[in-house]
């Protein structure tokens, strides 16, 4: 039984890191594509490379540093961070699913970014385009920070930074290859559903590790994570249904028809 629990734990850890990284990479890709298509590729690609170096340095420094903490303290800190972070994702996903928040639309984000890139003036044609560099650098760094956060916390709590990093890099590589292939934003990726799944997984791991760090002995050991995930899924489903009903009831008569 413990083996099944450990395998499940690893599988869920890989899945959470892979999905979270994939969805963040899709958003970063949209920004880079919009700038590159309008203003040329050299400067945004240098911005992407610079952001990737900064992110790699953060992982290389933070990963080993966190592992210096005693394991219970580490799990308490990581659990608390994952809980707060995961609940942010889950809260937004529930608001989107119930209609209280607009669904994320890569096509619209691409169009807005492209329009902005077209309006901004250019510098010397042969020099560095600092607008493109900055937009690409900032986009990749901000979206990448979420990936780094997940890789470092997951990896440190399980002492498997390399495993979590491999899951993240696999997802990013897939998104980049798909982006190069289609040369347009990846609108068909079911981002909102993926974000819901990531919110559930991050919150589940947050409860599990936060509890362990605080001194809990989970019934069923590692397999308890599946029960937590099932509980959160049911809770979220119920909340979405309740909020949909609430929203429908608040609409003027005939507006929802």
């Amino acid at each position: 039984m413990p083996t099944i629990g450990v395998v499940t734990h690893d599988l869920l850890l890989f899945l959470a890191t892979f999905l979270a990284s994939g969805v963040e990479a899709v958003e970063a890709l949209t920004i880079v594509l919009a700038v590159g298509v309008v203003r040329g590729w050299r400067s945004p690609l240098i911005g992407v490379a610079a952001a990737a170096v900064v992110l790699a340095v953060i992982v290389a420094v933070l990963g080993p540093a966190l592992r210096l903490l005693p394991i219970d303290t580490l799990r308490l800190v990581v659990g608390a961070l994952l809980l707060v972070f995961g609940l942010q994702w889950l809260r937004k996903a529930i608001l989107r699913s119930s209609g209280y928040k607009a669904l994320h639309d890569e096509g619209a984000a691409f169009a807005a970014e492209r329009e902005q890139a077209t309006r901004v003036g250019r510098g010397a044609p042969t020099g560095m385009d600092w607008y493109s560099f900055t937009v690409a650098f900032k986009g990749v760094l901000l979206e990448g920070l979420e990936i780094v956060f997940i890789v470092v916390t997951f990896g440190a709590a399980q002492a498997r930074v390399a495993f979590a990093a491999a899951a993240a890099l696999t997802a990013v590589a897939l998104v980049v290859v798909a982006g190069i292939a289609v040369r347009s934003p990846l609108e068909r990726v079911p981002e909102n559903t993926i974000k819901f799944a990531v919110g559930l997984l991050l919150t589940s791991f947050g409860i599990f590790w936060g509890g362990e760090g605080a001194g809990v002995n989970w019934p069923g050991s590692e397999a308890a994570i599946l029960a937590i995930l099932a509980f959160l899924s049911l809770l979220s489903f119920a909340l979405v249904r309740q909020l949909r009903r609430q929203r429908h009831a608040a609409l003027p008569a005939g507006a929802g028809a």
Partner: protein, 67 residues
Amino acid sequence: MTYLRAFAAFWWDFIVGDDWRVAAGVAAGLAITAFLAHRDLAAWWVLPTTVALVLTVSLRHSTRRDG
């Protein structure tokens, strides 16, 4: 000073997000869990219950505010 404020605001937004009640609830849930666990009392139920409460309260607040 402006840079420091912007830096702090970025991390506050990154970690805490839109609703501080979520972070406060999580901190309270972890404290109660540690309190019970260190007295050899069953504490595994505290965090799932906390998450259910915090999520419900935060969503109710958000949907009432946004209409």
